[in-house]
């Protein structure tokens, strides 16, 4: 039986908003997609994000998770450059 794809919202912060020219988008992903795979898809959709690969931090909802984290429907990915609080 074909599995329904899941909708995952992706948020961009700081100058990633400029690179992608958007604050957020929604990806339709196959069930079982992990964070690393989702990041690959995002870089394909937003080629300017390719050069930021090494300095991209990724959170799922409000947490930093491992790249093999399997995404669930309703979760949100947030992408941003290194943080600079203080």
């Amino acid at each position: 039986m074909e599995q329904t794809p899941i909708d995952i919202k992706v948020n961009f912060f700081s100058y990633f908003k400029d690179l992608t020219e958007c604050e957020s988008t929604v990806l339709q992903l196959p069930q079982g997609t992990n964070l690393d795979q989702a990041l690959s898809i995002i870089r394909q959709q937003y080629p300017k994000m390719e050069r930021m690969e090494r300095s991209t931090l990724a959170a799922v909802d409000l947490e930093y998770v491992a790249n093999d984290h399997v995404l669930k429907a309703g979760e949100e990915i947030s992408l941003f450059p290194p943080v600079q609080g203080g």
Binding site: N11, A59, L62, E63, S78, V83, G85, G86
Partner: protein
Amino acid sequence: MKRSIKLTIHPIVESSLIAERKVSREMGAVNYFSGIVREGEEGKKIKAINYEAFEKMVLHQFDLILNEIEERWPIESIRLVHRIGKVNVNESSLWVEVVSPHRNEAFEACQWLIDEMKKKVPIWKHPIFTQVD
């Protein structure tokens, strides 16, 4: 451990925060840190920094950091205020208070909190440069 984490667009009034301090009779140390916006950023002069924050995640990550502090040191309370939005040069962008029985844990916990913040808490600086005529 009592805790208070606040984000604000308003100037931090340190005297008011200190006046509101609550320290139990068993405590012997209160450590304060205030982070101030410097005039120089990336080798250029700035007049202000615009702080952007992913607010929900900021509060959650600070909570996790404080959970770990609670495990590591005998701290009675931590209060923290971080500005968001525009902060002028010479204004405080961050204020931290750590209350503990002795000075060692107050110093150590405060340093560790700020070090962890700078790795994990999703706040970013957008400098507003002084215009060159």
